[in-house]
C-alpha cells in the first residue's frame, strides 16, 4: 500500500515539524524579559504584600520557572521530569494559566472545537464559492461575469478582514436580523450540545465564515480561472467542441478535472492565512474561539496559555496541510510519493 506508506511518511514529517515549531514558540514566548510570576513578585514586593510573595515563589518552583530555559522547555514538552514528574504536552498536561488561576485545558476547553469548526466552515465556504465562480469566470472570460467576479475578488483581497467583519455584522443585523457577536446564544453557553444549540451555532457561523473565507476564496478563484484558461486553449478542447459536445459537459468532463489538482494542493497555502484570519476575526467579533484567549494571554504574558494556543493553531494548520497532501495523492496517482518538491 504505497498510499499508506506515504500517509505515514507525511505524519512523521508533521511530527518533526511540530517539534521544531514547539522550540520556536517557546523561544518567542520567552522573549520578553521576566515571566508572569517574577513580574507579579516584583509588583507585590513594591506594594509591600509579602504574604502573596510566598505563594508566587511557590508557584515558580512548582512550574519550574526558576530553572534554565532549556530545562523549562523540556519540562513543558514533557521530555524531562519536572517537579511533579513527567507532566508536559506529550502527556496531555497543558500547563497552568496564572492569569485565570486555572489549568489551561479548562480555559480553552470548548473553544478548541469551535476553532476547528469555524476554520472547517471557512474552508468549505472557500471551495463552494471558488469552484463554481472560477469555472464560470473562465468559461465566460472577457464578459461582464468575468469582470464582475474579478472586481469582487480584488475587493475581497484588499479589504482588511476585520473591517469586513464589522461592516457585515452591522448590515447583517440591520437587514437580515442576523445575531451580533459570539458563536452561540448566550443561553447555550456551557450547556451540553443539543439540537437547539447546534442550530444557534449554525446561524451565528454565517457572518464569520463569510468574512474569513472571502479573501481565500477570491485568491483561489483567480488561480482556478487562470488554470482553466490555460486548459481551455488546448487542442483537445477544440476537438471536443468540434465533436458537438455540449459546453457544460465538455467543461466538467475534461478541463475541470485537469485544473482541479492545483485547486486541492492550494489548501496548503491557503490554510495558514485562513487560520490567521480566524484569530483576528474572532477577536473583533467576540467569537468563543481561542483567538481572544491568545490575545489576552499574550498581553498579560501568561506564558503557558499563550504557548499552548500557538501550538494548537500551528497543529491545526499542519494537520490541514497534511490531509490535503494525502488527498492530492489519492486524487492524482501521477504525483510521486517522495514528498513535494517545488
Amino acid at each position: 500500500m504505497p498510499i499508506l506508506r506515504y500517509a505515514i511518511y507525511r505524519f512523521a514529517t508533521m511530527l518533526l515539524t511540530l517539534l521544531v515549531v514547539s522550540v520556536m514558540v517557546f523561544v518567542i514566548i520567552n522573549l520578553p524579559p521576566g515571566d508572569y510570576l517574577s513580574n507579579q513578585i516584583a509588583e507585590l514586593r513594591a506594594s509591600g504584600q509579602e504574604a502573596g510573595v510566598a505563594k508566587a515563589e511557590f508557584l515558580r518552583t512548582e512550574y519550574a520557572l526558576d530553572r534554565p530555559l532549556w530545562q523549562q522547555y523540556m519540562i513543558w514538552v514533557g521530555f524531562m521530569p519536572g517537579p511533579n514528574g513527567f507532566a508536559g504536552l506529550v502527556q496531555g498536561n497543558f500547563g497552568w494559566s496564572f492569569e485565570f488561576d486555572r489549568p489551561v485545558s479548562e480555559i480553552v476547553g470548548e473553544s478548541l472545537w469551535l476553532t476547528v469548526l469555524v476554520n472547517l466552515a471557512a474552508v468549505l465556504f472557500v471551495y463552494m464559492v471558488a469552484l463554481p465562480l472560477g469555472v464560470l469566470a473562465a468559461a465566460k472570460s472577457k464578459t461582464w461575469i468575468d469582470y464582475t467576479s474579478a472586481f469582487v475578488g480584488y475587493l475581497g483581497l484588499a479589504t482588511p478582514n476585520f473591517l469586513l467583519a464589522l461592516i457585515l455584522f452591522y448590515y447583517g443585523h440591520k437587514y437580515f436580523d442576523l445575531p451580533i457577536g459570539g458563536l452561540m446564544d448566550p443561553a447555550f453557553e456551557g450547556q451540553p450540545m443539543g439540537w437547539d444549540k447546534a442550530r444557534s451555532i449554525l446561524i451565528h457561523l454565517i457572518v464569520p465564515t463569510f468574512v474569513i473565507g472571502t479573501s481565500g476564496a477570491s485568491a483561489m478563484m483567480q488561480r482556478l480561472r487562470a488554470n482553466m484558461l490555460d486548459e481551455l486553449g488546448k487542442p483537445y478542447v477544440e476537438t471536443a467542441i468540434a465533436k458537438g459536445m455540449s459546453p457544460s459537459r465538455m467543461l466538467t468532463k475534461y478541463p475541470l478535472r485537469v485544473a482541479f489538482n492545483p485547486f486541492v494542493a492550494d489548501i496548503g497555502n491557503l490554510l495558514p492565512a485562513m487560520v490567521s484570519g480566524s484569530v483576528l476575526v474572532s477577536v473583533v467579533l467576540g467569537l468563543q474561539t481561542i483567538g481572544p484567549t491568545l490575545l489576552t494571554a499574550l498581553k498579560t504574558q501568561d506564558q503557558f496559555l499563550s504557548a499552548f494556543v500557538l501550538m494548537f493553531v500551528a497543529l491545526l494548520t499542519l494537520m490541514g496541510t497534511m490531509i490535503s497532501d494525502v488527498l492530492l495523492v489519492l486524487l492524482d496517482p501521477r504525483i510521486r510519493y517522495e514528498g513535494r518538491d517545488a
Binding site: T17, V20, V21, V25, I28, I29, L31, P32, P33, Y154, L155, L157, A158, T159, P160, N161, F162, L163, L166, I167, F169, Y170, I180, G268, N269, L271, P272, A273, V275, S276, G277, V279, L280, V283, V284, L294, L295, L298, K299, Q301, S306, V309, L310, V313, A314, T317, L318, T321, A342
Partner: protein, 384 residues
Amino acid sequence: MTQLPDGRYVDDAPYDPQASIQQLERRDLDAPNWLLIWRKFRQHKLGLFSGIFLLICYLMLPFAGFIAPYTPNERLSEHLYAPPQSVNFFHEGAFQGPFVYPIVAEADLETFQWKFVPDESRPMPLEFFCPGGSYRLAGLIKSDRHLFCAPEGATLFLWGSDRLGRDVFSRILYGAQLSLTVGLIGISVSFLLGISFGSVAGYFGGRIDWVINRVIEILRSLPELPLWLALSAAVPSNWGPVSVFFIISVILGILDWPGLARSVRAKFLSLREEEYVRAAEMMGASSGRVIRKHLLPNFMSHLIASATLSIPAMILGETALSFLGLGLRAPAVSWGVMLNDAQNLASIEIYPWTAIPMLPIIVIVLAFNFLGDGLRDSLDPYES
C-alpha cells in the same frame, strides 16, 4: 481605405498595438531592457495609473504636515465626534470661493448626544498658506504654514473628527507616513533575508539547501498573524514610538521572506547550470561575485514585481496589529491606530466617519496589486 461619415479616412487593416514590438527586425532591438519593459508596461493602463497614484502618495508623505489643516494630536475639545463638513463654493446662488459654514454644537436632550448644526447664514471663506500648529517639513524644517486651514472661529473637519476632537483627515495624512513606510521597510528586510537564504540554498545546494528548505517549509506552513502577535507582544512597552515602528516593520519582514527565498532558490537551481556561470567560475570569480554580478541581475525584475505584490500584505499586517493594540501605539498615528477607535459596532453605527481610514487602506492595497500585476505582465518584453 474607408471614409467615415465625418469625412475621415480609416485604414481597413486591423490595428494591432503589439505589431511594432513583435517585428523581427525592429529598430530598437538593442534598446535596454528597462526601456522595453517600460514600453510594455505603459500599455497596461490600470497598472500605469496605479503606479502614478502610488508615486504621488509617496511623494506627498514628507509634506503631510503642510497639506493637513491640523496637526495629528491637536484636540478641539468643543467638537468631539463632529460629522464631516463640506467645502462649498456658492452661497445662496452667488459664487463665494471656497468657504465653510461654521458648525454649532447643540445638546440633544432626547439622545443625550451633541448635535452639530451648520450655521448656514454665515459663510466663512477658507484661508490659504495660513499659520497654524507647528510641524516639521520632511521631519527637518520647522514650519507652521498650512496649505489651507479653517477660518477664525470655525472648524474644518473634511472627514469629521474623532472621539478626542481630532481631525480625521489630517490624521489620515499623518498616518500615511507610518502606514505606507512600514511596507517598504518590511519588504527590504524580507528581500535581504529572502535573497541571501534563497541564493545560498540554490547556488551551493547540498546540505545547506536541505536545511534552508526545511526552514522555509516550516515557516510557510505556520499562520503568520499569531506569530506576529506573539513577537509584537515581546516588544517592551517603554520603547519610544520610533523604535516600536522599526521593530514592527522588521517583525513583519521576518516572517515574509520564505516565499521570496523559495522563488529565488528555484531560479538559482536552473540558472546555475548555464554556461556563463561556468565561464565566470573558470575565470576565478568568487561565489559571491557570481551570485551578485551574474545571477541576481537576471531576475531582479521578477523579484521587484513579486515584492510589489507582497507589500500590501505588510500594510494589512500593520493595520491588523495596531488595530488589536499590539502594533503601533498612540501617540504614533497610523491607519491601524485610527481604526482602533472604530473597533465596536456602536461607534460605526453612530459615527460612521471614524471608519474612514479603511478607504485609503483599500485603495492603496488595490493599487499595489494592480501595479504588481502590470509589472509582472510586462517583464518579458519579447513575449507577445
